[in-house]
């Protein structure tokens, strides 16, 4: 499936872009060894299988590290922009901008993915602080 508004990416990313258009963060699960992987790629690094299925993340995770981008400006984001790297309940690590306050930004804090309309055809994933640990 292709869309004229989509960035020109490797075909390996088609399923991921499909997911974002539906407000889902999809990762790959190997049909042979069941290993979950991210970012998108054609082959399972564990068993070299080319067979996989897309799996949506629940969105629950825990901050592994973070950085706050101050300079230079990076439109459409406003700066300073906190960016979070989180270990997700499904065993993969993903990154997304963080929409919560500085007081909730620390390693080990629970976070939850949310999807905000990106102003085009899909959704932008953001992390927000979660009430409890996943």
């Amino acid at each position: 499936m292709t869309n004229a508004l989509r960035p020109a990416l490797s075909k390996d990313f088609d399923f991921f872009l499909d997911g974002l258009e539906q407000g889902r963060f999809l990762v790959q699960r190997c049909n042979d060894c069941q290993a979950t992987r991210y970012p998108p790629g054609p082959m399972c690094p564990e068993c070299n299988s080319l067979k996989w299925s897309a799996q949506p993340l629940s969105g629950a995770g825990e901050i592994y590290s973070f950085v706050v981008h101050h300079y230079p400006p990076i439109p459409p984001f406003e700066t300073p922009l906190p960016i979070v790297l989180a270990d997700m309940a499904e065993g993969v690590r993903i990154m997304a901008p963080f929409g919560g306050g500085a007081d909730t930004l620390h390693v080990g804090a629970p976070v939850q993915l949310e999807f905000r309309p990106d102003g085009k055809t899909g959704f932008q994933p953001w992390f927000k602080p979660a009430e409890t640990r996943s």
Partner: protein
């Protein structure tokens, strides 16, 4: 495999380092290349190999034509920006050891400051479709700069080992102290204090302004040949005692976000293992280290990956001035890329050569073995040079 002293650097040439060279990148390249050849007393017609970075914009055909070359048997490029810094030396050494070429010139020339801004917040992933896709992914999530990518790794490092902004500041202050007495350096005569450091603005928290190297214009070239040929040449040969490359699991380009421990530079540790094996040397044998400082705090990771201290111990290692000239392990004696110039690590190779020839601005007395490293957090390279 032990390398032995059979390959030597016999010529070094460079332009001035600036923020606006006022001439083309090709001119910078051929000025540095011919300066290196003149110093080596080797004629351009004898050059049969060229090695550079994939990111260098000067085509081999143009460099070779400009210097009046005749027969070029070996031309090689290595990817991943500053991660390539020592890789052309490795390419040259392998070509010479196998007899493929006899005189290889390694060069890097750029108007990175005046022509284009390398760190301008765009996606630097380059033209390969797989890399471009990952680059798009990170860009779309707000991850736009090398500072933010490596800041992410150093934040994790701070969390694990208790390193602080003050620890980062010690590295910046030391780099600027060395630069202040190096006439080649952009920040010659301009040291900073810890207070200056702590007052400097955030770029990608935890990185402040003074943690970041700044894009520069300039070129560096070195001439590499066999030790046998070097015997008949005027300069003191600087031997390539080891040179290696490294890519590890879940390797990214400035962003190794998906490996178990992003605070540990496993590709640098892989290079280190090879360097010590090839050279038969140990960290204690290294008299000075040029540790790639696109961002000063990553010097902490390098000190650990190259075996100068244990994991998480680098912040304590640097506390008593150990990395200053006169300390246990002088680091970035030219001021590093933070203080001298950012020529993607080739100016670090030049500084190692000067130290070994005994002509550095901040000379380490009796330096016999110098470690030089390439970009940290990217597919990388390193070398041990010696006399």
């Amino acid at each position: 495999m032990r390398w032995g002293d059979d390959v030597a650097i016999v010529g070094l040439g460079h332009t001035e380092f600036s923020t606006d060279s006022g001439r083309s990148e090709l001119q910078l390249a051929v000025e540095a290349v011919t300066a290196a050849l003149r110093e080596a007393e080797i004629r351009p017609a004898d050059v049969d190999g060229l090695a550079t970075y994939s990111i260098d914009y000067n085509a081999e055909v143009d460099v070779f034509e400009s210097i009046g070359g005749r027969d070029l048997k070996f031309f090689s490029r290595v990817d991943y920006g500053g991660g390539a810094a020592c890789a052309p030396l490795q390419q040259a050494a392998m070509a010479i050891k196998t007899g493929v070429a006899e005189v290889v010139v390694c060069y890097r020339a750029m108007n990175e400051r005046s022509n284009y801004r390398f760190g301008a917040g765009s996606n630097p992933a380059g033209g390969r479709s797989s890399a471009r896709s990952i680059g798009w992914l990170h860009t779309s999530l707000g991850m736009r700069t090398p500072a933010a990518g490596l800041g992410m790794a150093m934040r994790r490092y701070m969390h694990l080992y208790g390193a602080t902004s003050e620890d980062f500041g010690r590295i910046a202050v030391t780099a600027r102290k060395h630069a202040a007495t190096n006439p080649l350096a952009r920040f010659y005569g301009r040291p900073i204090t810890m207070d200056d450091y702590m007052a400097s603005r955030m770029i990608a928290d935890p990185f402040r302004l003074y943690d970041c190297c700044q894009e520069s214009d300039g070129a560096v070239a070195v001439v590499v040949t066999s030790a046998e040929r070097a015997r008949d040449l005027p300069s003191t040969p600087v031997f390539v005692r080891a040179a290696a490359q490294g890519i590890c699991d879940h390797q990214g380009v400035m962003w190794n976000f998906y490996r178990d421990d992003i605070s540990w530079a496993s590709e640098s540790a892989l290079v280190a293992r090879q360097l010590y094996e090839q050279s038969g040397l140990a960290p204690a044998d290294i008299d000075a280290a040029i540790l790639y400082d696109h961002f000063g705090p990553t010097v902490l990771q390098s000190l650990e990956a190259y075996g100068f201290c244990g994991r998480g111990e680098a912040k304590d290692f640097i506390k008593d001035g150990a990395i200053e000239v006169g300390g246990r392990l002088p680091v970035n004696t030219n001021g590093g890329q933070v203080g001298e110039a950012y020529i993607h690590g080739m100016n670090g190779v030049a500084e190692a050569i000067r130290q070994l020839r005994g002509v550095a601005a901040n000379q380490v007395a009796g330096a016999k073995n110098v470690l030089v490293t390439a970009g940290l957090g990217v597919p990388t390279s390193g070398a041990i040079l010696g006399v």
